[in-house]
Amino acid sequence: MRYLQMVRRFVVQHATMAQFPEDAVEAFELAVDEACTNVIEHAYEGRPGHWVDITITVDPTRFTVRICDDGKPFDLASYTEPDVPALTQQRQGGGLGVHIIRRLMDQVEYRKRDGRNEICLVMYRAQ
């Protein structure tokens, strides 16, 4: 968790350099925060000593952050949007992070590649 701040700074710095507006930069910061937290807490189940690979790609039309890990895969098939009123009656606030990511980003893709989990967060540049 102590590296999260470093990751957020890395993404914010590059999104700012790519001249995305402030609200888009903030959206990326939070989406990457949520995605990395999910990797740490769920894919690696909070165990230390694992890696997370983060790649940023900037092109004229979009900004993409790819986050890879080799932990427990995310089961997209079993994911359901959180029922917020019901969450107040539950002990966990499950699914909130993924929900936030999907609402903030233009495109979110999960892939399994060479035994690794990969999530791609994409935001298109306003024309």
């Binding site: 925060d33 949520e34 917020v84």
Partner: protein, 115 residues
């Protein structure tokens, strides 16, 4: 980008109503500390809890879960409300759907009068 790593919490109690002003950032690194601080600070006699977010710059789902716990602990007949949301915090609260389950006011005074 304001990247203050640690939240700061200020408590003001008037009878059975408490206004807690949180400043800085709440994310997965410090949400547990925030939760503990709130848990130990609340009195069993407290009936109204207002979370003043006017100095809150950033919140992730980890911080939202602490808000959910508070909303649950202060569900009717007790009262829980948020106030002073900045533009970016408002957006997160809205996309999370929390605006449908938590009362939101502009100021702490309005929250205390109407929560």
């Amino acid at each position: 980008m304001n990247d203050q790593p640690i939240h700061k919490v200020d408590w003001q109690r008037d009878g059975t109503a408490v206004v807690v002003r949180i400043a800085g950032r709440v994310d997965s690194r410090n949400a547990f500390d925030f939760d503990q601080e709130v848990h130990t600070g609340v009195l069993s006699t407290d009936e109204t809890f207002v979370l003043d977010c006017s100095s809150l710059h950033y919140i992730s789902s980890a911080g939202l879960r602490v808000m959910l716990k508070l909303a649950k602990a202060f569900s009717k007949p007790k009262r829980f409300a948020l106030c002073g949301l900045t533009e970016n915090i408002t957006e997160i609260i809205t996309i999370s759907g929390f605006d449908r389950i938590i009362s939101i006011f502009d100021t702490a005074e309005q929250a205390l009068a109407n929560a």
